[in-house]
Symmetry: C2
């Protein structure tokens, strides 16, 4: 596919935004209904606050000059009405009185008060306009109205406030392969989640999204839908499928109805964006991959939205962090890389996540974006970089788990909430050990079988971590087994049975592959005797899917994968899924919370509900001294 | 007034929160309606994403082993159907194929494709569950649902999600002196702005506020209203007037219906808070001063709300800054001091604002809170402190103006929006000069008459700033004059006429007082000849209010004050209101924007609309070399 251009983001935005002034109407509304709306003009105070001279205390209004010289030895007596008048906080100070003495500081007599200290002119008195002066600027144009803004408008007499009208944004999902999430998608069908992502983002910003029904790949239908949307909304987003053909449809439709200004923006992900105009309105083609869509919404559509609404935008929250892995980038694009952020051993660290623009989970589990400008090749591991956070983080209350993933970790995540949050990145067992070694994580889920000793985890930890003391917390024995077709029609019962059938295997290096090799060796079986031994798949689920489809009869995997694919499972081995823990974390409050979670009855009940686990050692801890420990 | 206790905030919250578990119901809703709601339980994926092996590119599905050895010199040919199948991005990869070659990288032939590079197993292929694996944790309990969370639920087959029900919070304004903002308040009446502040805060957090009509100071009426509110809502906020008598009403009502747990929390502002329980629900007395109310909402009610909803709360945004003024505090209370934050000469500085708990504007114009714990006497000027920001700031785009205030500054604020924001603190002309000298501001509004030379501003600047170059930008000649009763019944025309009447005067040191003295001297009049010369008031508006009430016949002031008070004005003098500017700011982009604003036609038109200004020199700049400049 050829893009017309690869125009820098800032250049596109600057000139494109100028095309759409005066698109937004203005509403005149009551201040109490204005929370979150945007001031369309400066708002000035109608009335001063306070609007009369008032007492700031409960006490007596007096004339300061009549209190001069009062002290404990020589109290001064002031008569009611002429010299002292009782006032509640907020009451008007009577004419001629110029100070208030607190009720605690007076001695009440029959017909007056006795004071033992002088009052100064203006004491405990609120002058007119102390808080707000009539005609002063309350809120500048472009300000998003916050709660206290509502209060000052109400207090100072604003009857109506001018705000920008809500902007209506049409979202048109297109593509023959796209189906509503109300359906169960078949092979080759993709659920339309983007429309809901875009609608939610727009709602969060304060806009009003209008989601259209899915339009098939039909030029005329698409053209008519865009026409209708442009008539009813201020902006139209065309969410094309990600294939070349469909992108061309969008740009063709826009060119027929109006004009394409830019096709191809130099950002990654998000490159195939189309910025066009028809019927004087922005018509924008947003790429179909969810992460591309998210980035284009945040970096392009949000900017255009702010410009249309004349909103004074609030800058993003940023944070300096040290990169744990390199973040390379090409020179041609401004690239946005999702990262996870944590604080380990007193240092804030950021770990780049998967780049795939289809990986929604990198946004859900990510904490922010690292921006690599075009003309930069990126950053090396160990460099300090600035991260734009999705939201503010409490790094002191975040437990960083990097390693092999297991569903039990999800239950721990639930258990430590809301005191702590468990931030987990899935890099495999060995990756987890390395993350602990490099000080990039508090804990790592590990399940590594040492084929020589037949032992789990400890041999590897001793091999790789030699210079510090670490702890190994038993979480669960996890059942590995043979995934078989529903009902186990071939009556597979043990490893030996694999010689009679065809299997799907995991890739070299995967824990399950290591285990299969170990079990074959123990049973005196050569891999050559197994049909399909060299058929490699990258995930438990891929193997399970092969079994389910009937292309193979079995494959090694964990119970959860067979459950996810709704096939059957023959348990053959219990592997140890443990948590490797740093000494720093072991001694922390966070660990206490975590340990109390995994030893609780409710945690055990929930794990047992998942199936495929044995919790007899759960919670046991051993310490492992590094051989070279300083 | 005596508080039962002065209990530390954390102690109150910890034990009080425990009283209310299981108050919140659970809703089962569709994921697309769940934005901003809070997960009531872990949400797990129902379906893997992708749910079939799919192509990540537009191109040809191939078998990797058949591509081995392909290069430019020795292209490999693959036949359609058996060896190469066209796939769009997202299409299922046919059974038996294990790699995809991008369409750009193939040469299409009659009955097949020619490739010049080998493909590896899994190339451009998305395995099942690459993004999301069925049964994995999508969102943990307590998470507030963000846009991408909606998308992952939709994509992975969530049909319904369990969220906590919206919490209903009753707000009951009470007090004989409280009136609705729909009325025009009379002397002694206070507009109910707190209900709208509290309602807006609750809405912003995601709660559902129910504002009751104002209840008079009537024990029985208040009791019945609380009873009704507790029946209909999850929590009841009693917003008592700030006087002692009314606070006692609230606690008496709560004690009659249930029990007061705490009366008096060791925070400032916010001390008179009442935490009680009736009908198993939290019934809370919130103090009446707006800033106290705001702090109690943010520091107490929000905590209780989060606890009830089991929300994993997002920490506040913090920032380190250097204090420009001391922030002293007493030992007994945890004190929350509002501050303004800016960046001047590369340093982030924080300036404490007025402490008065009635000053709403310190929240509107403030940027955040400095917390001084109990048992601390506060901080000295120059200390580095941590500020909890109300929202993220773009300090590079903030112009710090500290000095004398004028309405023209408000129009500049509007003009520089949205490129810059003008952050202004009102400390008087001399305070502004000192702020510039100390590097705490970019610019200062000044109007100081030197009585000896009869010149404005420059003599003072030369006197106080001797070690650097600064610039003085003419903004406006501001008309000072004699404020007189409507219609000027005594036909006052000049300074000499003041000898015949009674006036109200400003306090010693005020610019207007200096000007009056200068004008009297010029006219050969002794202050003794002026009746009321020693009657001192602290603001223009107070003087204007004296004139309006008829207690005096005139007073010196600016046109805006007479306009605010709707009285008449006799111009007598034009003072120079200039902007003193640092060299750093003079050379910045921000100054260019500011200068283009004040020299624009629209700015001049708006200033002329205000009245009382002469703009003939507006925009002129002179530089002032410090005599001791290094």
């Amino acid at each position: 596919m050829v893009y017309l251009k690869n125009t820098p983001l800032e250049e596109c935005l600057d000139s494109y935004k100028k095309e759409f002034s005066k698109l937004i109407e203005i509403d005149k509304i009551e201040p109490e209904d204005s929370l979150g709306r945007v001031c369309a003009d400066n708002v000035y105070a109608t009335r001063s606050v306070p609007h009369y001279v008032s007492s700031a205390m409960d006490g007596y209004a007096v004339k300061a000059e009549e209190t001069v010289g009062a002290n404990v030895d020589k109290p001064v007596e002031l008569k009611f009405d002429k010299q002292a008048v009782y006032v509640d906080t907020g009451d008007a100070v009577p004419d001629g009185f110029d100070a208030v003495i607190k009720i605690e500081d007076v001695n009440k007599l029959q017909d007056g008060i006795e004071i033992i200290g002088a009052a100064f002119k203006g004491q405990h008195i609120r002058p007119i306009g102390e808080d707000i002066v009539a005609h002063e600027l309350l809120l500048p144009k472009g300000k998003t109205i916050e709660p206290m803004d509502v209060a000052v408008m109400v207090a100072s007499g604003t009857k109506k406030v001018l705000v920008t009208s809500e902007i209506k944004v049409a979202i048109i999902p297109t593509g023959d392969e796209i189906v509503s999430h109300k359906n169960n998608p078949q092979i080759g069908e993709i659920v339309d989640s983007n429309s809901h992502l875009f609608a939610a983002l727009l709602k969060k910003w304060g806009a009003n999204p209008v989601v259209y029904p899915i339009v098939k790949d039909d030029f005329k239908a698409l053209k008519e839908t865009v026409k209708d949307a442009a008539a009813k909304c201020h902006m139209v987003l065309l969410n094309a499928g990600s294939s070349a053909g469909k992108d061309d449809y969008s740009s063709e439709v826009i060119n027929t109805l109006g004009e394409v200004y830019y096709h191809g923006v130099a950002i990654k992900p998000g490159k195939p964006t189309i910025l066009g105009k028809a019927f004087d309105k922005p018509i924008i083609g947003v790429p179909g991959y969810p992460v591309s869509g998210f980035i284009v919404m945040e970096k392009i559509i949000k900017e255009i939205y702010h410009s249309l609404m004349e909103i004074t935008s609030v800058p993003s929250i940023t944070l300096k962090a040290r990169l744990t892995k390199p973040a390379v980038s090409d020179l041609k694009h401004k690239e946005f890389i999702r990262v996870k952020v944590g604080k380990v051993k007193g240092k804030v660290v950021a770990t780049p996540l998967g780049r795939g623009s289809a990986l929604m989970n990198t946004i859900v589990h990510g904490d922010g974006l690292l921006t690599v400008p075009s003309n930069s090749e990126g950053h090396r591991a160990g460099e300090d970089v600035e991260i734009e956070l999705f939201k503010q983080l409490d790094l002191e209350k975040t437990i960083m788990a990097v390693g092999s993933h297991d569903l039990c970790l999800d239950l721990i995540a639930k258990g430590v909430t809301p005191k702590y949050s468990l931030n987990s990145a899935h890099v495999g067992s060995l990756g987890g050990i390395m993350a602990i070694k490099k000080g990039q994580a508090h804990m790592a889920g590990v399940h590594l079988l040492d084929p020589e000793s037949g032992k789990y985890n400890i041999p590897y930890i001793k091999r790789y971590i030699s210079d510090e003391k670490v702890y190994l917390l038993s979480l669960a024995k996890r059942t590995q087994g043979i995934m078989v077709q529903k009902g186990n029609p071939l009556n597979i019962k043990q490893i030996g049975d694999l010689t009679k059938i065809s299997i799907a295997n995991r890739q070299k290096g995967a824990g399950t592959r290591v285990l299969l090799d170990y079990l074959l060796y123990q049973n005196g079986i050569s891999p050559k005797e197994i049909s399909g031994y060299n058929k490699e798949y990258f995930t438990h689920l891929d193997v399970a899917a092969q079994v389910k489809s009937g292309r193979v009869q079995a494959g090694m995997g964990i119970y959860a994968a067979s459950k996810a694919m709704e096939i059957d499972f023959v348990p053959v081995f219990e592997e140890s899924y443990d948590l490797l823990i740093t000494e720093e974390f072991y001694k922390s409050e966070g660990f206490k919370v975590l340990h109390s979670v995994i030893t609780s009855t409710s945690f055990k009940q929930e794990v047992n509900k998942l199936g495929g686990y044995n919790l007899k050692d759960c919670g046991n801890i051993i310490s492992i001294e590094g051989s070279k420990k300083k």
